[in-house]
């Protein structure tokens, strides 16, 4: 590994961390698409900033671009407040218009501007180490490292200073307002951080892929935990992990670094989506299947309790009476037998004492719907758990 490679990985990791923090809150506040809007709408700000400064890393350009991101947020809210269209339509109306203005500004001044829309959207991390920051003659590292480093420092400072406020206003805006933390100020604070991070990160990973770095780690973490601190840490971890593994994948394939970082993010998300312990798709499908069986079991037990005559309780009869297919009937019978709820004697099914007590409880539960009644049943059954 040479120093350029280390620097690239360092920049990518810092970008990942800087994006994961506001990203987590955006995902929790159901505003993930705002980050997409911001990432497109910074273009006119960037172009105007570039006309003035001629330097993609100057602080003025970053401020101007972040300002145009904030203008997007304000415009979306204004349009939404008129009540003429829904919020998502408002987002979808504002950012393409701003983005178009940016593209046209670039196209009309193509001769004076060394700014490529591709470069803005896609970024090129591989070139980042060549743009060095030189302070009084000494080389102190790549410019983008300093830019994203300072953005990250500010973000972290704000996070630690306002963690409590952010947490309250994210989960309960009403409570936060009544406690005296203005949700509006926190909202705009978060939006400013998101805008500045997007701008700071765009020339490393490109504007669209900033969105991936904001949303994907947070969404992956959200599938694995419901604790805000753990979610933040996990999001940062996933971000850094895919930044570094993505870099090496790009190295091997000789392809875009930003693209392969996103692909790694996608891969990690796919894994969590499929295999997350309680919220992954496989777990959910398994749980739904269990619940279906359990509902059948209770139906079955109720049926037994209601019929004392032997003909109603014959194994063969059950299939046609409750209208179950053979396989399902067998699953339910086996489950009931395993739990000692029923005994089968001469193909006649009858409830045991335990089954009888359970059925009574179940009826009580269905009628009263009170949690306290079923506390002790929760261990045996998925169905009654939360």
């Amino acid at each position: 590994m040479n120093s350029a490679q280390i620097e690239i990985q360092l920049i990518a990791s810092l970008v990942a961390i800087a994006c994961a923090i506001p990203g987590t809150f955006l995902v929790l506040r159901k505003m993930a698409m705002i980050s997409d809007a911001i990432s497109h709408a910074i273009l006119p700000g960037l172009v105007i900033g570039f006309f003035i400064t001629q330097d993609l890393n100057s602080p003025l350009l970053i401020l101007l671009a972040a300002l145009s991101g904030l203008i997007t947020v304000v415009l979306v809210e204004q349009i939404q407040q008129t009540g003429l269209v829904k919020e998502d339509t408002a987002i979808g109306l504002v950012f393409p218009a701003l983005f178009s203005i940016g593209v046209i500004l670039i196209a009309k001044n193509a001769n004076d501007v060394h700014l490529d829309v591709d470069a803005v959207l896609l970024g090129e991390l591989a070139f980042a180490p060549f743009d060095r920051l030189i302070i009084s003659g000494t080389d102190v590292g790549p410019k983008s490292l300093w830019v994203i480093g300072s953005i990250l420092t500010v973000t972290l400072g704000l996070l630690f200073a306002f963690f409590k406020e952010l947490k309250v206003s994210t989960f309960d805006a009403g409570l936060s307002a009544s406690l005296g933390f203005s949700p509006v100020i926190i909202h705009y604070g978060l939006m400013s951080v998101a805008s500045i991070t997007t701008v700071g990160a765009f020339d490393a990973v490109g504007a669209i892929l900033v969105v991936a770095l904001m949303i994907a780690p947070a969404a992956t973490a959200y599938l694995l935990t419901t604790d805000l601190k753990k979610m933040l840490l996990l999001a940062v971890f996933f971000g850094v992990l895919s930044a570094i593994s993505g870099y090496w994948m790009a190295h091997i394939l000789d392809a875009s670094i930003a693209g392969s970082i996103t692909t790694m993010l996608g891969f990690i998300f796919l894994m969590a989506y499929l295999f997350a312990p309680s919220k992954g798709v496989i777990a959910v499908i398994y749980r739904e299947k269990q619940q279906r069986t359990e509902v059948s079991l209770i139906t079955f037990l109720l049926h037994l309790k209601n019929h004392s005559e032997k003909s109603e309780r014959h194994v063969n009869h059950l299939c046609e009476h409750i209208n179950w297919q053979k396989v399902r009937a067998k699953t339910v019978l086996d489950l009931a037998q395993q739990n000692n709820m029923i005994i089968i004697d001469n193909n006649i099914v009858s409830l045991t004492d335990k089954g009888d007590a359970f059925t009574t409880q179940a009826i009580d539960y269905i009628i009263t719907n009170e949690d306290a009644q079923i506390e002790d049943m929760k261990d045996d059954f998925f169905l009654f758990r939360g």
């Binding site: 995902v27 159901k30 993930a32 698409m33 980050s35 997409d36 349009i79 008129t82 003429l84 269209v85 829904k86 998502d88 339509t89 987002i91 979808g92 109306l93 393409p96 218009a97 983005f99 178009s100 203005i101 593209v103 046209i104 196209a107 009309k108 193509a110 829309v117 959207l121 896609l122 490109g206 669209i208 892929l209 969105v211 991936a212 949303i215 994907a216 947070a218 969404a219 959200y222 599938l223 790009a250 394939l253 000789d254 392809a255 875009s256 930003a258 693209g259 392969s260 970082i261 996103t262 692909t263 993010l265 996608g266 998300f269 989506y273 997350a276 919220k279 992954g280 798709v281 959910v284």
Partner: protein, 373 residues
Amino acid sequence: MNLNEYFSLVFSDYTLRTITLGTAILGAVCGMLGSFAVLRKQSLLGDAISHAALPGIAIAFLITGAKDSNTLLIGALVSGLIGTFWIKGITTKTHLKSDTALGLILSLFFGFGMLLLTFIQKQPNANQAGLDKYLFGQAATLVESDVWLMAIVTGLCLVVILLFWKEFKMLLFDPDYTKTLGFNTRIIDILITSFIVLAIVLGLQTVGVVLMSAMLLAPAAAARQWTNSLGTMVILAAFFSAFSGVFGTAISASQNNLSTGPVIVLVASVFVLFSFIFSPSRGLLFRHIRFIKNRRDLEQHKTLAFMYHIAKTHDTISHPHTIKILNNFQGFTRGTLQKLVKKNYVELDGNMWSLTEEGFKTASNLYNQQNNE
């Protein structure tokens, strides 16, 4: 070339005619389907799908090695559909919300597509140049066969919409009711979503991945302001969209260095802005005018009621009073007094006013409707 030249050339010049027809047809189909997307609160779906189509284009190129736009479109269609159904999967099976799902699919698919595109660029295949036109679209690359394809798809889409109009409409406004009537909502849903994906994929070549979503929803959002009927909205949206297509092409053709996509989007945005402000029933301007008018009416009523209470204390209604006593009353202005005179509720005599018989009657009926006789 200026605008006049453009319009004189549009029927004779092959390229201009193709592009104009292409954008017009594309606009029409996007407007029609966009109305459904906007009303189904799926406005941003277009954005997500258009980005999600990118890896499909790259993979189709990798498999076939040819840049035939039809095969690339099929690739885009497949990957757009996968994206759409994955979004559905995420929102129904996990607790992630739709905005997160959209953002995820959008950025992840797009990033993967970029990876593939840069990978393709490194391949020793001279044919690969120009795949990135799908990013921003280049209407100039449209040829007659593309326009034919668009026309066929638009026709198909029109037939399906007319055939399933009732089902689509019902699913749009009351999915539960549709289900209870015995329609298979899932199939209707898949049908309309697939057509939205198809329209988006068709537009990629012309306006590109990034701006396709605006093409879909801006005309629909504009049309929504002018009507409350779905049929009118669909037709209006198609018209707005086709017009922005043609007009955008005209502007971009008459200037140097203007790509068509952004101009079309800006024209559509102007439509939206215009509709937001000037639509008679919902527009901001008329809403504000109605607001002011209502406030004036209320003030006039207040003045009249105040006069009524003064007049009530006197023997005759027409007992004159000085205008001065109205001065410390908020609803009173010279204007309102003049209006009351015009309505024949009040008579003025120099500095004195008095209520007329009619004014007294109206005033007594203002807040309660008891003295109607």
